[in-house]
Amino acid sequence: MENQALPQSLLKLDNVTKVFLTDEVETHALSGIHLEITKGEYVAIAGPSGCGKSTLLSILGLLDTPTDGTYTLNGRPVQGLTPADRARIRNREIGFIFQSFNLIGDLTVYENVELPLTYRGMPAAERKARVEESLEKVGMGHRAKHVPSQLSGGQQQRVAVARALAGNPAVLLADEPTGNLDSKNGDAVMDLLQSLHRTGSTIIMVTHDARFARHADRTVHLFDGQVVEESAAPKD
């Protein structure tokens, strides 16, 4: 193989399937997925509701395990890892951004962003620097002392992005990050992701909105748990 010649593969799915068993009914959420994502790529995953986008993202984010197939992250196969190892990888390598922001209501903006660093056991001084840096990046530095309920939806999502960034992860996983936002705020968040991509972040974003998929280098189209098409965005 000529691995060295190719750009380094960050994530690699080989023939991944996911079957949910509920009340004796099997749901094939994903079947035979092959996917390879290299460092620095911005990939959109598109498809109709229920086609398996979130499931795919959960597997990529190590929140869930495939029923079959292999998943290699950073050159290392992840099946058979202990829950503690998986938690550590989630903490260090992956940043999540959710559709419904999922900030913790009892914690301030600052504490929300600090949370993944706390789980890492990072010293307080370093945490402070990192939290402030990532809040600056999303333009929310002045709201550090607020609690989420005092912020608008767009602001909350920017804090969520800051939280995902704070740990300096290898990849950002965003599941319909604009789904709960009006178009103006949605655009602002998309611009934010775009600029992160430009500074070198690897981003995988789920969306059912073709308009947003445009921002990505490449779009993977899912239908009924299968990849039906891969298209590269026209470079402008």
Binding site: T55, L63, A84, A87, N102, I104
Partner: protein
């Protein structure tokens, strides 16, 4: 109202859990209150009970001693304050024979002719005693209502019929009213017998009479006290030998027959029951808070549509009160069952009367108001706009609700700790009362009591008693399986904390009142072997220790060690405290110490002295039989052996010693059971409470758990998140509870001195146990929280 019912039916789980909690909490309280009501609050069934008083002898040692016949007659004849002054005592050692039947033991109220009039009651059939009959010493009795119903099926033709009581014929002249069927006051009364008090007119040594009087209209207790005090001084002057240190005390009739210890324990049980109810209230308030969260949207809509806060509060409160009234009704069923159980135990009906019903009603309504008000208030203060916008979801709702829940849990833990300490204090104390080294062996031992009729056997030292005893012992020893038999004046079962003063030869006489005391028992040879005791030095009594032979005594080990330390006690002499006539007895043996089956805190004396029964016989006696077999198997044989010697009398309390002990302790055992139930219920409820709160918080926060897991929280992080709050609550709650418990135990030590020894380990142990249980109750939901599937909890909406 209909709306409240509909709301409750809509959440059946909540309703059922609440009803069960309420039923237990209120039921327990209604039961405790019934006992309290029955024993303490119910007014006497006698006419104008406030003017009935007891007149007690009052010595420096004891403020409630009986009176001698001589004193009673003088008081009766000299006073100007009483409408009537009656004397009575309960005799439960009499044998009663109904024509053609075997002798049975009877409980007889011996009283003067004016006893019923003084209490203000009269016979339901026939007539009462007359003073003429009393003067002529006529052998007449009234049947107790209970005995009449039981043995004669309420037959009105019993009047004029003859019975044999204590070997003499007596005539039934009437039937006493139901008011006298009060086992707690008189025992299970069979007969009321006219006592010939005048026979002993000049006798002042023995004080076996209780004296009860009815004040003349307008005379106060203080006036009566003043006059009785003057009479006592006159008696002391006229009869210094017996009365120098006796005065008289006029006390209310109501409270005197129940001990203060009993009162303290009953109030204690009531307080503990209230603590259980408080714990139940906290749980219900918590449940209610959870329910309010679920209904916050409905409440917000009501408020948005213009309902006033007060109205919303009223609506929520009426649900709580409706609920607690239903729970209270169920609680009464529980209480009815518990009352019957207690009643069967004490042989004393514990009714659910109007007072108990009123108590249960008030307790239920108050409970509903207590656990309903605060949640309703919080719910009615909800921010309508925020709630509606949020759609009832979201982590930021209800900060004050959570804080309140935490305060409730801390309070609950503190109450539970106090409850458990209080119950534990008594349970440990009762355990110590019942399980201790007694120094004698109650197994394989059967005992009976006999009172020989005075007419046939005379009084102290009568030869005829001696002959009877020899025949009886020999008859008992010949029964199959019997190893030994003996006669005595006392038993170790009832080794009471009272003693007689004694003197040691060659020692300077201590000041009057400071003489050493010893519990004295007169026993026949073989008594120690029969009771499984050990003669440690010297010898047992022998047949030769008879009237005319030198006076001898056997002493307990602790007495010997105290008064002849390092010396041989054998050959030393002890005697009475009268320096003129010490009546020395030579110590011929030393036996091990014994204590009674119920060991209460303060004995008057730890010492025992035994004397030969044959040197000083008496017509009241106890026989005991040791067998190798089941002690029940000799009961019939013993009855026959007795009938062979004396057919006219029955042994009373003829039963294995174990059975008698358990009988004596049934009250204590019942108290212990009630405390066990309360402690368990309190513990259970508070465990459910803390579990419920932590579990509910964990459920409300599943989404947050998912987020944290996505951000890299491990299961230990998640577990700690919930444990931490649980630990803080547990530490706070038990800290406050510990302080209160220390106070409680200190108060109890002063209040109920019957419970031997105080016990810091109870508090420590209870504190640790509660903390462990509280942590376990937090740990389970915390551990379950780690099982949350993040992909599921993160699926938005």
């Amino acid at each position: 109202m209909r709306q409240a019912i509909r709301q409750l039916l809509k959440s059946p789980g909540f309703t059922i859990v609440s009803l069960v909690t309420l039923a237990f909490g209120i039921g327990l309280n209604a039961n405790a209150f019934s006992v309290l009501n029955r024993l303490l609050l119910q007014s006497l069934p006698f006419r104008d009970p406030g003017s009935i008083v007891m007149v007690w002898g009052d010595t420096s040692k004891d403020q409630e001693v009986g009176q001698s016949p001589g004193d009673y007659i003088d008081e009766r004849d000299q006073n100007t304050v009483f409408e009537g002054l009656a004397a009575y005592y309960i005799n439960n050692t009499s044998s009663l024979v109904d024509q053609g039947k075997v002798a049975e033991r009877a409980t007889v109220l011996e009283c003067t002719s004016n006893f019923l009039p003084v209490l203000g009651i009269s016979p339901v059939l026939g007539r009462g005693f007359t003073s003429d009959e009393q003067a002529r010493q006529e052998p007449v009795v009234l049947l107790s209502n209970r005995y009449w119903q039981k043995n004669f099926a309420g037959d009105p033709h019993v009047l004029g019929r003859a019975l044999r009581l204590k070997g003499a014929s007596v005539t039934i002249i009437g039937v006493a009213p139901r008011e006298l069927d009060d086992p707690e006051r008189w025992g299970r009364l069979d007969l009321v017998h006219l006592d010939p008090v005048e026979v002993n007119r000049g006798y002042r040594d023995g004080t076996w009479y209780n004296v009860v009087g009815r004040l003349k209209p307008g005379v106060t207790r203080a006036q009566a006290q003043a006059e009785m005090g003057a009479i006592a001084r006159k008696l002391a002057h006229d009869y210094p030998k017996t009365n120098a240190e006796r005065s008289l005390r006029v006390a209310p009739f109501l409270t005197d027959s129940e001990g203060d210890i009993g009162h303290a324990i009953i109030w204690m049980i009531m307080d503990l029951a209230l603590a259980v109810l408080m714990i139940a209230c906290v749980n219900l308030a918590n449940l209610q808070l959870v329910r309010m969260t679920a209904r916050s949207r409905e409440i917000a809509i009501r408020l948005a549509l213009g309902s006033s806060r007060l109205r919303v509060m009223g609506m929520l409160l009426s649900e709580s009160i409706l609920l607690s009234l239903c729970g209270g009704a169920l609680g009464l069923l529980f209480a009815k069952w518990a009352n019957d159980y207690v009643g069967a135990y004490f042989n004393l009906p514990v009714p659910l009367d109007y007072r108990v019903l009123a108590f249960a009603f008030v307790a239920s309504a108050a409970t509903g108001a207590v656990f309903g008000t605060v949640p309703a208030w919080i719910a009615s203060r909800a921010d309508v706009n925020a709630t509606l916008k949020q759609g009832g979801r979201g982590a930021s709702a209800g900060g004050s609700r959570n804080r309140l829940r935490q305060v409730l849990i801390v309070a609950q833990l503190a109450i539970a700790l106090v409850l458990l300490t209080g119950a534990g204090y008594f349970i440990r104390g009762i355990h110590r009362i019942m399980n201790h080294e007694m120094g004698w062996d109650p197994d394989h031992l059967t005992m009976g009591e006999i009172e020989l009729p005075n007419a046939k056997y005379g009084e102290r030292g009568d030869k005829r008693t001696l002959v009877f005893a020899e025949k009886l012992i020999s008859g008992l020893r010949h029964l199959p399986g019997v190893q030994d038999a003996a006669i005595s004046t006392g038993t170790p079962i009832g080794t009471v904390p009272a003693g007689d003063p004694f003197a040691v030869e060659g020692r300077p006489a201590p000041a009057k009142g400071a003489e050493p005391l010893a519990y004295t028992n007169r026993v026949t040879p073989g008594f120690f072997a029969t009771h499984g005791m050990h003669v440690l030095r010297g010898r047992d009594f022998a047949i030769s220790d008879r009237p005319g032979a030198p006076n001898v005594a056997i002493v307990s080990k602790s007495l010997a060690e105290k008064f002849w330390p390092g010396e041989d006690p054998i050959g030393k002499r002890i005697g009475g405290t009268d320096p003129v006539k010490p009546d020395w007895s030579e110590v011929v043996g030393v036996v091990n110490d014994v204590v009674g089956s119920i060991r209460i805190a303060r004995y008057e004396t730890p010492y025992q002295i035994y004397r030969p029964w044959f040197q000083d016989t008496f017509r009241f006696l106890i026989f005991s039989v040791r067998t190798g077999a089941d002690p029940h198997s000799v009961v019939e044989g013993a009855r026959k052996a007795l009938a062979d010697v004396e057919p006219d009398i029955a042994a009373t309390i003829l039963a294995p010693a174990r059975d008698t002990m358990e009988d004596n302790m049934s009250g204590i055992v019942l108290v212990q059971r009630m405390l066990d139930v309360m402690a368990l219920l309190g513990l259970l409820l508070s465990t459910i409470g803390i579990y419920g709160v932590v579990a509910n918080v964990a459920t409300e926060r599943t989404q947050e758990i998912g987020v944290r897991m996505a951000l890299g929280a491990g299961s230990a992080d998640v577990q700690w998140l919930f444990m931490r709050s649980g630990i803080i609550l547990a530490v706070l709650g038990s800290g406050i509870g510990l302080l209160a418990s220390v106070g409680l135990v200190m108060a109890l030590d002063r209040l109920v001195q019957i419970v031997p020894g105080n016990d810091p380990w109870v508090i420590a142990g209870v504190g640790v146990m509660l903390a462990v249980i509280a942590l376990l109750a937090c740990w389970i939901p915390a551990w379950r929280a780690t099982k949350v599937d993040p992909t599921v909890s993160l699926r938005a909406e």
